[in-house]
Symmetry: C2
Subunit: 379 residues, 2 copies
C-alpha cells in the first residue's frame, strides 16, 4: 500500500504505486497478472474519472487483461478481494491482482461539504439523503441509541480512539500519527452527538494492492505466503429505519458467521483483527457482532485494554481507519495488507506476538455491506 | 427488461421491475436468489445514489445476500453477467441474479451538457477530458480516420441507422420506434463529423435482468433454457492516442477471440448478433473485429443488407443501442435478454429464423473494455 494521507497523484498513478509494491513483494512481474479487480467508490463523483479498469491496466503495462471496477461504498476493495479469490479458486486464473484506490482529502480540490455529500450518496436516496443524514449522522443515530440503552458509553468510545492512535503512531504509513488521550476525545468538537471529532476517521487518500495466487504458486514465490481461509460478504436491510433494532449489526454478524463457517474456525481462533472503525463505536459493535465479546461488553473490553496490542484480541494494530486513515475504496485491501504483514511478523514495534489467524472486517454504507476475511500464517 | 425510454422511477425501483420480470420468466422466487451482480455506470454522478447493492437487495425482499455493483462504463452489466456466470460455474451458487440499471435521459433533471460530461468521465482524465473530447468526439476521431482511409463511408454508416430503426420499430420495448431513411441520417445535424445526429444512440433510462443457474436446475424450470457457451472480457490500451492504429478495434477482437476459443466456435457458427452500436460506425467496426467481415467490407455489408433481419448475419434485431436505446449500465444484459428471446423464438415479427447460436458484444468507454458472450438455444 501507499502511505495514507494527502496525495496529489491521479487515481491510476496512485494505484500503480501500490500495485508495483505488491508485485515486488510477491515476486511476480506485471506480465504475469492475468486479471485485476479494482475497488473504487467515487472516482467519478469526486474527480470526474470513472471506468478505471482499462486505465490502470494500461498504466501497469498490461492492457488487455480482464479488469472490473467494484463499487460497494467503503467495502469496495474487500469485495474486489472476494472476487479475486474466487477467480483463483475456479482455476481460471493463476495470478490475480486486486486492490483499491481513492482520494477523499482536500487535495481533491473539493471542500468538506462537497466531500461529505459525495460520501452521503452511499446512503438511501429516498429517505436518508433528503433529511440531511450524512455518515456521521448515520453512525450517530446508532451510537446514540446504543449509549441510551447502556451498551457502551462515550468514555469507552474514546478509549478506542486512544488505542488506535497509539497503534497508528507506530505505523509509518498511517495518516494521523499523533497520540491522544481520552480527554482529548471527550473535549473535541461534537460532530454528531455522541460522536466527537476524535471519534471520526479522517478524509484520506491512498491505494492498496495484493497478489492472489494458488497455494502451489505462492509456495514457489515465498516461504511465508498467507493463506486465505475465507472471504465472505453479506448485505443488510437498508435504509436504517427498516432495521428491526438499530443496535444490532446484523450485516456484520452474518458476514462473520459465513466466514467462520467457510473457514471452519471460531472467534477463539482469531489472534488479530483489523476492524472497520470509521467511528469509534463501529469498532466496539463489530467486536461484539463478530463474537469476540458479548453484546454490551465490547466498550468495556476496549477501555480495559483487551483490544490493545498486548490484549487478548488486538484490534486495529495498523491504527485502523481512525489513525491510519480511510481512503474509502482502498480500505478493504489495506486491512488485508496489514494482516498479511502481521502474520509474516513484519509489523515492527506494532507486531502482534504469535499471530497465526487474522481477520479483517470491512463495512460499507449505512450498514448495507460487510465483507469478512480470515487469513492464516504459513506453518 | 423494462421498456427503454424515459422513466421517473428511482434506480432501485427500476431495477426491481426488470428483476421481477426475469424471476417470473425463469420461474424462480426472489427467495431462491443466492447472489446478485449489478451493473451501473453513474448512479452517483447522475443522481447522487451509489452503493446500490444492498438497496436493490432490500427492494427485492432479499436483504442479506452478497451483492456487488460493477462499473465498467457502458460494459458494466455484461461484466456483471461474466461474474454471475463464474459464480455459478464455481458451484458456490445455484441461482444468481444479474442485471443493470441506469437513467441518462432528461428525466434525471440534468441538462444535455451535464449528462455529456458525466459520460465523459469514462474517458481518460489527463488527456482526453481536458481537451473536451466527449464520447461523440472519441468515436468521431476513429470514424473520421476510417472514412479517410476508405474503410467505410457516411452512406454505409447511415444504412446501419436505417436498419436498426427498422428493427426497433418492431420492438415494443425500444426507445425510438420511428423508421428512417438514409437521407434522414445524412441530412441530420452534425454532432461530431462524420457523426450526424442519427448516427448516435439516444440518452435512455431502463433496466435489464437475467437469472443464471446450473444446466440441471435450468432444465427443471423450463424446456427451453439458453446455455452460456462463453462470456469473456478484454481491456484495451487507453487513452486513444496510445493505440497503434485508430481503425483497429483490438479490444473487441481480443474479447471475441477469447469467447470463440472458450466456446469452441467460429464466426461461421453465429446466427444472430447484438452489437454495441452506440454510433453507427461502431457496429460496422465490431462486425469486422469479430470476424464476420473483412476489414473494410463491413460498411458495404450493412449497406447491402447482409446484416438485416433476413441477411446472412442479422445484427441488432432488437434495434440496438441506436433505436432500442442505451441506458448505459443496463445495456449489456439487455443484449443478453434479446439474444435469449431470439434463441427461444419469442421475438415476434423481428425474429431471426432458425437462430441456434447468438452473440453479444458490449463496449465500454474509449474502447477500453469489451465483453463478448456466446449463447446457445436448447436442443
Amino acid at each position: 500500500m501507499t502511505a495514507f494521507g494527502e496525495h496529489d497523484a491521479s487515481l491510476p498513478e496512485l494505484f500503480t504505486d501500490a500495485a508495483k509494491t505488491a508485485l515486488a513483494d510477491a515476486g511476480v512481474g506485471p506480465g504475469e497478472v492475468e486479471a485485476l479487480f479494482l475497488g473504487n467508490s467515487f472516482g467519478g463523483e469526486m474527480e470526474g474519472q470513472s471506468h478505471l479498469g482499462p486505465l490502470v491496466a494500461s498504466y501497469l503495462g498490461v492492457p488487455g487483461i480482464p479488469v472490473s471496477r467494484i463499487e460497494d461504498a467503503c467495502a469496495s476493495s474487500s469485495n474486489a478481494f472476494r472476487q479475486a479469490v474466487r477467480a483463483v479458486e475456479t482455476g481460471r486464473h493463476e495470478v490475480v491482482l486486486v486492490g483499491g484506490v481513492e482520494r477523499t482529502s482536500a487535495a481533491t480540490g473539493r471542500d468538506t461539504a462537497e466531500r461529505t455529500r459525495t460520501f452521503g450518496a452511499a446512503a438511501d436516496g429516498r429517505y436518508e439523503q433528503p433529511v440531511g443524514v450524512t455518515f456521521p449522522g448515520v453512525f450517530a443515530l446508532v451510537s446514540r441509541r446504543s449509549v441510551h440503552d447502556g451498551l457502551y458509553d462515550e468514555r469507552e468510545m474514546a478509549s478506542v480512539a486512544v488505542k488506535n492512535h497509539a497503534n497508528g503512531s507506530m505505523n509509518p504509513r498511517a495518516h494521523l500519527r499523533n497520540e491522544i488521550a481520552v480527554d482529548d476525545v471527550l473535549d473535541s468538537p461534537v460532530v454528531a452527538s455522541p460522536l466527537k471529532l476524535y471519534d471520526c476517521c479522517p478524509f484520506t487518500d491512498g491505494a492498496s494492492a495484493a497478489v492472489v495466487t494458488t497455494p502451489e504458486y505462492a509456495a514457489s514465490l515465498r516461504d511465508d505466503p498467507v493463506t486465505v481461509r475465507a472471504v465472505e460478504q453479506a448485505t443488510g436491510r437498508t435504509p436504517l429505519h427498516d432495521k428491526p433494532d438499530l443496535t444490532e449489526l446484523d450485516t456484520v454478524e452474518r458476514a462473520g458467521q459465513r466466514a467462520y463457517e467457510a473457514a471452519g474456525l471460531t472467534p477463539a481462533d482469531v489472534d488479530v483483527l483489523e476492524a472497520h472503525d470509521c467511528f469509534t463505536s463501529a469498532e466496539i459493535m463489530a467486536t461484539e457482532a463478530l463474537g469476540f465479546f458479548e453484546k454490551g461488553s465490547g466498550g468495556r473490553a476496549a477501555a480495559e485494554g483487551l483490544t490493545a496490542l498486548d490484549g487478548v484480541l488486538p484490534v486495529n494494530p495498523s491504527g485502523g481507519l481512525k489513525s491510519k486513515g480511510h481512503p474509502v475504496g482502498a480500505t478493504g485491501v489495506a486491512q488485508i495488507v496489514e494482516i498479511t504483514e502481521q502474520l509474516r511478523g513484519e509489523s515492527g514495534e506494532r507486531r502482534v506476538a504469535d499471530a497465526r489467524i487474522g481477520m479483517t472486517q470491512n463495512l460499507g454504507g449505512d450498514f448495507g455491506t460487510c465483507v469478512v476475511s480470515l487469513l492464516e500464517a504459513a506453518a
